[in-house]
Amino acid sequence: MLFILPPERRGMRKDSNYYILVGSIILFVIVNIVLMSSGRLPLSSDGFGIILGAGITLAIYSFLYKDNPAFKITENLYVGVSLGYTIIITWYNFLKPDLYDPLIVPLFSAAAEKAPQYSLIIPSMLGVFMLLRFSRRLSWLSRWTFAFVVGLGAGVSIPRVISAFILEQIKPSLHPLFSGGETVFSSINTLLILLGVISVLIYFIFSVEHKGSIGTISKIGIWFLMISFGASFGYTVMGRLSLLIGRIQFLLKDWLGVLQ
C-alpha cells in the first residue's frame, strides 16, 4: 500500500518518475477497459489471466527504464508464487503418492486397503535428520544423512562421470583423420578438434614457461578459447532475445490482438 501513496506522504521527493509510474498504471487500466469492452479480451478468468500476465511482463521490463516500485512488487511476487507453487507440486506429485498414501494413511486408517510400507520409514527419517541441522542439540544427526548422501553419490557418480565425460569425449579426439568414406570437411573438423584440445591443454599447463614452441601453441589455445567464448556470447544474445520476442509475441497476440 505504501507505493500508491503520493511521494510527499512517504517522505519522498516528488519527481517525474512518480508521475511516469502513475501515468503508466492509468494507461494500462484504460487499455484493458477498452479491450474488454470491445470484446477483444473475454470477461472470464482467461481474460483476467492475460491482463495479469501482460501487467507483470510490463512491470518486469520497466526495470530497463529504471528501478521502480512496480518492478519490485512483481519481483517479490515471482519469488513468493514460485515457492508456493513448488510446495504444492511437491506435495501432490511426491510426498502424498510416495510417502503419505503408502505409509501414513494405512498406519492410521482402518479403511486402508494396503498394508503400510514400513521400508519408507528409513529414508523418511534420513530426510528428517537433514532438517535437524537447525537444532544445536540434534544437528549431529544430520551428519548420518550427509554421510549417506555423499557415500552413495560418490559411489554412483564417479565411474559413470569418468565413462561419460572423459572416456566417451576422448574418442572423437582420437578419431582417425581418414577412415574411408568421410568427406574432406569432416577430416578438417577432426584435425581442428585435435588441434584445439592439444593447444588449450598446453595453455593450461602453468608449470612450464610459455616461451618458444610452447608459447606459440598456447597462443593458438587462447584463440580457440576466444572463439569459444564468442560463440557462447552469441548464443546468449540469441537466447535473451528469444525471451524478449516471446514476451512481445504474447503482448501483441494474446493481449492486444494485433498479431494473428
Binding site: F94, M238, S242, R247
Partner: protein
C-alpha cells in the same frame, strides 16, 4: 565524438524493442533450413516404427518457456503424426502445468487418448536418483501419473518396465539435465537420447553431438523454428525468426559502430 561513446543504454533498448515489434507486425519470409543437429533428431523420430515409446522430459519452467515450449509442441506434433507413444515427465517443479498443456493441446488435435497413446507422469524430485530408479523400475519411480492413475494399469505402459524399453528419450532442458540423462541414464540403460536446450546452453552441448552421445540437438528458438519447419507446423518459433534476424543485424551494426567510434576518438591510443 565523446557523446557518441556514452549513449544512454535505454536508447538501445528502445531501438531493439521497436525492431522486434515492427518485424513481428511486418510479414516477410526468411528461409529456415534445418541444421545437421536438428535434422538428427528429426531423422531419429522418422526412423522409429509406429507404436514406439518416446519419453519426453520437460525440464524447464516458465522462465525458459519462450524457447522450449515451441520446441516441445513441434516435437509432440512429430511424435503424434508418426503414431508414437508419448510418455511425459519432468525434473522441474515449475514445469507440470506447461508440459501438461503442451501434451494435451497437441494430443487433442490428433485425437489421441490419455493412458493409451500418451501419459504424463508429472514431477518427481531426485534428479540422478530418479533416473536410476526409472532405469530399474518405472512403476516404482512413478507409482501414479499426473492425474493420480495407477501407472501399472495404464495400457501405454504395459510394454515398458524401465528406461531400457524406451526407444528414444528427448530432453527439453533449461539446466543440467541433459548431462544427468547421459551420465545416469544413457550410459547404463543404453537408450537413444536427443535434446533440446536453451540457446545459452547450446555451445556446451556440441561435444556430446561430436561423441554421438546425443542423436541430435535443438538449440534455442532457432532450433525450435527449424523443427517447426521440418514437421510443417510453423508457429511462434518460425515467426520469431524475423525479429531474431533483424535484431542480430542491428546488434552487429551497434558493435561495428561502437568500435569505429572508439578508435576514431583516439581512446585506443591512450589505453
Amino acid at each position: 565524438m565523446e557523446r557518441l561513446l556514452h549513449i544512454d543504454r535505454r536508447i538501445i533498448f528502445a531501438i531493439i524493442t521497436v525492431a522486434v515489434i515492427v518485424s513481428l507486425i511486418l510479414r516477410f519470409e526468411l528461409p529456415i533450413p534445418a541444421s545437421i543437429p536438428v535434422q538428427g533428431v528429426y531423422n531419429k523420430v522418422e526412423s522409429l516404427p509406429e507404436g514406439s515409446h518416446v519419453l519426453i522430459s520437460f525440464d524447464y519452467d516458465p522462465s525458459s518457456k519462450e524457447e522450449l515450449q515451441p520446441m516441445a509442441i513441434a516435437f509432440l506434433h512429430h511424435c503424434f503424426q508418426r503414431n508414437l507413444k508419448v510418455i511425459g515427465m519432468t525434473h522441474y517443479p515449475g514445469s507440470p502445468g506447461l508440459a501438461e498443456r503442451a501434451i494435451v493441446s497437441v494430443a487433442e488435435q490428433y485425437r489421441k487418448v490419455n493412458g493409451e497413446d500418451y501419459v504424463f507422469l508429472g514431477f518427481k524430485p531426485g534428479s540422478a536418483s530418479l533416473i536410476i530408479n526409472m532405469g530399474e523400475n518405472l512403476y516404482s519411480a512413478f507409482p501414479k501419473d499426473y492425474y493420480g492413475n495407477d501407472t501399472s494399469t495404464l495400457p501405454i505402459l504395459q510394454e515398458v518396465d524401465s528406461l531400457r524399453d524406451i526407444e528414444l528419450l528427448f530432453d527439453l532442458a533449461a539446466g543440467t539435465t541433459i548431462e544427468l540423462w547421459i551420465v545416469y541414464g544413457k550410459e547404463k540403460y543404453k537408450f537413444e537420447l536427443g535434446a533440446g536446450c536453451t540457446a545459452v546452453m547450446g555451445p556446451d552441448m556440441y561435444p556430446f553431438l561430436q561423441s554421438k552421445q546425443l542423436v541430435g540437438l535443438l538449440g534455442g528458438l532457432k532450433g525450435a523454428a527449424e523443427y517447426e519447419a521440418l514437421v510443417g507446423k510453423e508457429a511462434n518459433a518460425v515467426s520469431g525468426m524475423r525479429p531474431q534476424s533483424v535484431v542480430h543485424v542491428i546488434i552487429i551494426l551497434f558493435v561495428i559502430f561502437g568500435n569505429v567510434i572508439y578508435f576514431a576518438s583516439g581512446k585506443a591510443r591512450h589505453a
